[in-house]
């Protein structure tokens, strides 16, 4: 009988694979069913956003950057406005800051709800996806009544926000906070007794904290590995120092903790929104900013805590109407370049890889830009 021969082989996962959340190709080296190595190939969604921004005025950059990370467009609007305000030393009215925090936190919740839904769907559970989108709809309605848009908001502008909230916003928002807060136990209830979910989540995809920091990983992925690092607390921006909230942190660094940390974060965001609604002052919603906005020459890097980790903009001005350089930085970028380190040599199955990719919450437009 001839001797059986085995060898490693390579297979492409993607670019069009439903669990890659966009268009990403993972070149897998397989040993039978086990993944030996996973190499990401990106760039399929490269739209040259940074080059386009160099060719636009500052105000025109904001709707372009909406497309940078479209699941949390508010953060994209905000981080660019913050950079421009720092360059031009603009004081933002207090009411505008409160509105910004409310919108940013609502957007964070909406993003985490999508995370819960898509992660469960990648592992074969469809119901949480319907649950997640049902609650997200409440937030979308709030955004729609404020700025008319449901995905790319163009709401936060240089110097403030584009318009004040309608009178029915505050009661509707309080109701949404109450409903979402009450539904979180349902998500945990439907998932945490599901043996398939637990088998793919518990103990899979361990991320070492020191290694994760060295690879620039941030946000919930880093906090699930026990690193209590949240820019809202550690490098405060806007008016986050006025609110009382905890930094969600978990210690095991596996898929399951990355899920739990995001559920905890939704609870904290609801807390921040309630406090902001209580303290919402009257007044102007936008500082006076010229239509021909020309910040003085200079450069600045600002960063905020987005739902996928640190989101930053490095902005260079030469005193003209167009920025010299807009370098964007998103959490997904570092998470995806860290992925091979987590997979290499651990003998995960492709189904485990799908779960790891999902709990990293990578979104491809943020990587490719």
């Amino acid at each position: 009988m001839p001797e059986l021969r085995t060898e490693e082989f390579q297979i492409n996962m993607g670019p069009h694979h439903p669990s890659t959340h966009g268009v990403c190709r993972l070149l897998l080296t397989m040993d039978g069913e086990k993944v030996v190595e996973a190499v990401p190939y990106v760039g399929y969604l490269h739209r040259a956003i940074e080059k386009i921004c160099e060719n636009r005025t500052y105000h025109m950059c904001i709707p372009i950057l909406d497309r940078f990370e479209y699941v949390t467009s508010m953060s994209c609007n905000y981080v660019f406005s913050l950079a421009a305000e720092k360059l031009a030393r603009i004081e933002v009215p207090e009411r505008a800051e409160y509105l910004r925090v409310i919108m940013l936190e609502l957007n964070r919740i909406a993003s985490h709800l999508i995370f819960v839904g898509t992660t469960a769907m990648d592992l074969g559970a469809l119901t949480p996806f319907l649950y997640g989108l049902r609650e997200r709809e409440l937030i979308m309605d709030l955004f729609e009544m404020t700025c008319g848009q449901r995905l790319t908001y163009n709401y936060i502008r240089i110097g403030g926000v584009s318009r004040d909230i309608p009178p029915q916003f505050v009661p509707k928002c309080r109701e949404a906070v109450r409903i979402i807060g009450g539904k979180l136990a349902d998500y945990e209830g439907i998932l945490n007794e599901n043996p398939i979910w637990l088998a793919r989540m518990k103990g899979i995809g361990y991320a070492d904290p020191q290694q994760a920091i060295a690879w620039g990983v941030s946000g919930p992925v880093l906090r699930a590995s026990g690193v209590k690092y949240d820019l809202r607390r550690d490098d405060p921006y806007s008016i986050y120092d006025k609110f009382n909230f905890d930094v969600a942190v978990r210690w095991n660094g596996d898929n399951y903790d990355r899920f739990l940390v995001r559920i905890d974060e939704i609870r904290q965001s609801l807390k921040i929104i309630s406090q902001a609604l209580d303290g919402l002052p009257e007044g102007e919603t936008r500082a006076k900013v010229k239509a021909r906005f020309k910040p003085p020459a200079g450069e600045v890097y600002v960063r905020i805590e987005n739902s996928r980790g640190e989101m930053g903009v490095y902005l260079v001005s030469d005193g003209s109407e167009k920025p010299v350089r807009v370098k964007t930085r998103g959490g997904s970028y570092n998470q995806l370049q860290f992925l091979p380190e987590i997979v290499r040599g651990r003998g995960y199955l492709i189904a485990d890889l799908v779960a790891i990719f999902a709990t990293f919450d990578v979104i491809m437009p943020e990587v490719d830009r």
């Binding site: 990106v42 760039g43 490269h46 040259a48 940074e50 080059k51 060719n55 636009r56 005025t57 720092k86 360059l87 030393r89 920091i213 060295a214 690879w215 620039g216 941030s218 690193v227 690092y229 550690d234 490098d235 021909r292 003085p296 020459a297 200079g298 450069e299 600045v300 890097y301 960063r303 640190e310 930053g312 490095y314 260079v316 030469d318 109407e321 167009k322 010299v324 350089r325 370098k327 930085r329 970028y333 570092n334 370049q337 490719d368 830009r369």
Partner: protein
Amino acid sequence: MTQQELTAYIQSSFEGKLTLLDTGRAEPMFEVRPDDLLEVARRLRDDLQLKFDYLCNMGASDTRERLEVVYSIASTTRRLRMDFKLVLGYENPAVESVTPVWPAANWYEREMNELFGIEVKDHPDMRPLLLPEDWDQGYPMLKNWDAPDFVRMPEL
């Protein structure tokens, strides 16, 4: 450590290696000579007062007079953040790779190489990142880059 203390500390302990620039910005910016880059990066990471263990962002920019590479770093334990940059000419620009210090620089350097044509020495894995594999139209983020279907915004 406050921002002023950090600036003073860096000025005293990195004398001659990191120079403070006055660029009229809200936060200070330092400049490093390309030859000193790796040594300075390593010391910034290993200094017990600073512990800059986290690379937030790095990228090049073309100011029409020169190329610049900016490194934004932070410390997750000391709650510090700083930026430094180095200046390159347009003739054969090249920098050392900082991946031995901060592995996070890996993709940023690949991106910088293909978009700006800056050579990164001793990079572990220099393949194109964002552009197609058969891209042959030069370095698109340079200011003088042009292509037949690239439309510039008219001067206002």
